[in-house]
Amino acid sequence: MPSLTQTEAIIDAIALEMRRDPRVVYIGQDVGAMGGSLQGTRGLLAEFGPRRIREAPIAESGMVGAAIGAALFGRRPIVEISFGEFIPAAMNQLINQAPNIHYMTGGVARVPLVVRTRVGDGPYGGHPQDYSAWFAHVPGWKVVTPAQPCDARGLMLSAIRDDNPVLFIEAMSLAHAPRGPVATETEACVPIGKARVARTGADVSLVAVGSMVPASLRAADTLAAEGIDVEVIDLRSIQPLDTGCVVASVQRTRRLVTAHEAWVTGGLGAEIVAAVAEACPSALQAPVVRVGTAQVPTPSGKVRAHALPNAERIVEAVRRVCGRS
């Protein structure tokens, strides 16, 4: 089985679907000759040509709107917003239009659209803001964030084949490393809305997404040496949220920590905690801890490390809920 980076796995999925389905068209900035931001579309122009790999003006609203319209009229567009920081420029299309259309047309219109974007800390430090939680709030979106290359490929296949708008969020820090085994010979989709247990454990449920999954696994290794057995859940999807997987885990471990790169306030962790509080309030033996970026606009340069969550902060959080700090 080949060993691919997250980026390579995503490109493999897009290329597979573009070969299989002539309706798939890719739209974005720098997606052609440059090979994409973070080399995210490398090789696609050479194989599919400029008619299907469409270089768009820097106009996020226009290009997302055009992708929605193309989806309504029979195409299956993937539109790339190079970085999550540029999402606000397309917000009318992303919030008022794409997720509403199916419902608002009485269930008639379909919007098979993938919006691909990159968030968080990254290889060259730019554009770190992570606004993913906004899209967990709005009905009509499906939102996925893979944490390992095989899921990145499988979720992208699912996203392109889905008849609804899917926001595909890549954690930039995972773009080029680590590599992981990816079954490139199959068309195996990873279902949207299904979490996975990345590591089983008995003492505490550590629910993570995107870049915080590998950080949580590292934290779990450290904690194992201290005698704390951590279960790590990789959510994979932010909407719909696999609360069943989380609740089942917490019912066994009776302790909960959440970890994501976006902010804590009004965030995904709060939603997880609420789901647990609704489903099994008496299961919790200790107060929960939510780990995320400090409540400041994610800063640049050397200040940033002080704002971001990491394995050490996760370790501290788990120790706290286990009464070891």
Binding site: R23, V25, R51, R52, R54, A56, P57, A59, S61, G62, M63, V64, G65, A66, A67, I68, G69, A70, A71, L72, F73, G74, R75, P77, N92, Q93, N96, Q97, N100, I101, H102, Y103, M104, T105, G106, G107, V108, A109, R110, V111, P139, G140, K142, S158, R161, D162, D163, N164, C189
Partner: protein, 302 residues
């Protein structure tokens, strides 16, 4: 005539409906000559006549404005949304300018499928200032998409007068995009048809988009119940032509219709509208049955 009569009935039934009176020639002239496989993206100010051209049923459209069961879209969206199954670009929110983006996407789909279908999109002079308009037209120009943009300039954006918010002229912007821009008398249906036909032919043959500015006049308020306290009657122009009178006189001059025939058309349309309104009013109100908790996502066969 259909446009005006239906609009009057709807305004009477719902003070929140956006009256079209005075602007009918632009609406009709922009869309009447399209094929049914072309996409239409009419402006929100009473686009029903455009949906009727595609085969929508009048009583069902009336249901949308009255909040009755039987309308398209299950009563969930803004009432001016049309039936998407008739190649109508949907209106699902009241945010202006986004419709130009989705309409441009319809044109992208037609170019991708290699057909000669086109999209015609109308928008208001108020909408013209949204950044979305610039983004969409520039994108369409870069990609030579088969679309025609028609600005239905009625002089007003709710309570603001056009001179206060459009610096320069809308049609002149076409030059900046490197596309044809034509200004036309929006009260003359033949004139509108002629310039739109030329732009549509150009789009069909793969030569890309055009921008048309149809100058017309909003006779009434932004909504039917608008008291228009912001309008100074002494400043209203006195030479605004009634597009229906203009066309009626032309038909008679050319011997294509006489007064009797025109009166018969009016009577026929009045009866049609009245029947549609009666049927719509007899329908039950929309409510919990249309909430559709399971209708947010499309089921995926994959």
């Amino acid at each position: 005539v259909v446009c005006r009569e239906l609009d009057r009935a709807l305004c009477q039934a719902n003070p929140r409906w956006f009256p079209i009176e005075g602007e009918e020639a632009t609406v009709v002239g922009s869309f009447i000559d399209l094929r049914t496989d072309d996409a239409v993206a009419p402006h929100y100010r009473d686009p029903f006549v455009v949906y009727l051209m595609r085969g929508a049923e009048m009583w069902r459209l009336a249901c949308q404005v009255l909040g009755k069961v039987g309308g398209y879209n299950k009563g969930r969206s803004v009432p001016f949304n049309g039936p998407v199954e008739l190649n109508v670009v949907p209106w699902v929110a009241g945010d202006l300018g986004t419709s130009l983006g989705t309409a441009t996407g319809a044109a992208l789909a037609f170019q991708q499928e290699g057909s000669d279908r086109v999209c015609v999109c109308t928008f208001g002079d108020g909408t013209a200032n949204r950044g979305d308009v610039h983004e969409a037209i520039n994108l369409a120009a870069c990609w030579r998409l088969p679309i025609v943009y028609v600005c239905q300039n009625n002089g007003w954006a709710i309570s603001q007068a056009v001179g206060d918010y459009v610096a320069g002229s809308i049609v002149d912007r076409a030059r900046g995009y490197g596309i044809p821009g034509v200004c036309v008398d929006g009260n003359d249906v033949d004139a509108v048809r002629e310039v739109v036909a030329e732009a549509v032919a150009r789009a069909r043959s793969g030569l890309g988009p055009s921008l048309i500015e149809a100058r017309t006049w909003r006779w009434r308020g932004h909504w039917a119940g608008d008291d228009e306290g912001y309008r100074d009657p002494t400043l209203e122009p006195h030479d605004v032509e009634d597009p229906l009178d203009l066309y009626a006189h032309r038909l008679m001059e050319r011997g294509l219709a006489d007064l009797e025939r025109l009166q018969a058309i009016h009577a026929e349309v009045e009866a049609q509208v009245s029947a549609a309104m009666t049927r719509a009013m007899a329908q039950p109100d929309t409510g919990a049955a249309e909430l559709g908790l399971d209708d947010v996502y499309a089921a995926c066969p994959h």
